[in-house]
């Protein structure tokens, strides 16, 4: 989009002329109707339900239509502990969602394994298999935190470009939108992490 001078735009608006671009209109529509996938994994899901209910009311941000089918959902809120037994199903659900799709990792367990990180049965973060857009720390995060994450995601969607070399990832045909589903191995999931998606931070010896 060729940038319009802000001063000119406000001046035109005063005269009753509203100038916009396809990208702005498109992103405005997308960001205000993010339909989350309806599933919860653990206690974070209770907070997610509270966010959807009347007190916090995620409908104010256009995210109230929780879809029971991945085909109709734009956003996956990974709300809770992802056990290794559950991880392949999560990845499969993500693969079944239509582009553009976004992921919020909600709570300590979903972002890193949380208090169960040292255990043998909990995945140490869902970002080992699928790309995550917004991480929310907390155990569990309060509904305000989920709303904040939702608004961050809206900001991200608003900033996505439709054309040019820096256009949004989901518009690039070569970009992967499906990721390999991990297999149940004899000792662990195989592979334990998808190296195309996840690289552990390098720690320096102290």
């Amino acid at each position: 989009m060729s940038e319009i001078d802000e001063k000119l735009r406000t001046e035109l608006q005063r005269q009753g002329i509203w100038v916009t671009s396809m990208q702005e209109l498109y992103n405005w529509g997308r960001k205000n109707s993010i339909w989350p996938l309806q599933f919860g994994l653990a206690c974070c899901a209770i907070e997610m339900i509270a966010t959807a209910a009347s007190r916090y009311d995620i409908a104010r941000f256009g995210g109230e239509v929780f879809r029971p089918s991945p085909r109709q959902a734009d956003l996956m809120i990974v709300a809770g502990t992802v056990t290794k037994k559950m991880a392949p199903q999560i990845v499969r659900l993500y693969n079944q969602m239509a582009d553009p799709k976004y992921v919020i990792a909600m709570g300590a367990c979903a972002i890193s394994g949380g208090p169960f990180k040292q255990g043998y049965n909990v995945l140490k973060g869902i970002d080992r298999y699928i790309p995550v857009d917004v991480y929310i720390p907390g155990c569990p995060p309060r509904p305000e935190a989920l709303l904040h994450a939702f608004m961050e995601l809206q900001r991200k969607i608003d900033g996505q470009k439709l054309t040019g070399t820096d256009k949004a990832e989901f518009l690039k045909p070569e970009q992967l939108s499906e990721f390999p589903v991990p297999k149940f191995g004899e000792h662990d999931l195989e592979p334990p992490a998808n190296r195309d998606v996840f690289q552990p931070p390098k720690l320096e010896r102290v």
Binding site: Y120, F184, A193, P200
Partner: protein, 228 residues
Amino acid sequence: MELLEQIKARIESSVPGAKTDIVPNGTPSQQHSLLIDNAHALAVAHFLRDDPTLRLDFCSNVTGVDWLDRVVKKTIKIKTVVDGFEKEVDQTTEEKIPGYLEAVYHLYSMAHKHGPVIIRMRTEGRAKCAPLPSLTPVWRSAEFQEREIFDLYGIRFDGHPDLRRILMWDEFEDYPMRKDYVQPDDFEWEPTPHDEVLARAKQHYTARPELDGAEKITSHSDVATPDK
């Protein structure tokens, strides 16, 4: 409710051939338990459930315990005559106890409102799928919990109607609650490691030999002590 000794005596008189032992519990709870032999376990369980004075009709909990091979040292003072004088000498005996797996059942009576009576069964050794008789035919509530013990400890319950893994996936080979279980090394990094977590995390740190202490210290001492 009867004392455990009385229950033990009545089991042995009512179930022919049954051998039971009392496993003492030294903690303040004083919850002693009955060790029953595997061959007669089902008959003993039926007796405990159906006996009119006991009526232990509710199995509230079944759990597993893993005991590794261990050596128990016992020190006894023995009086011996040394050089014509009587002296007390410590004599230490070592007893090697081979490892075993244990299933523990907590029984209550809904009819008589008493309990718990705790019974234990022990496997021969810690082999993969070491067998024990299933008590699910006696108490239905043991079904899922015996499956859980099978899943996490690897005790095979003979006579169980549906013995499969319940928490881990079917392809899983290990028994995670056993004390010699080795976790998969999917650790990679830890923001605030300490103790054994630090030891594990260090295996994944990038090696930086030039910053490892030794060389630094020698070079520093060279600077600190100039030639006289």
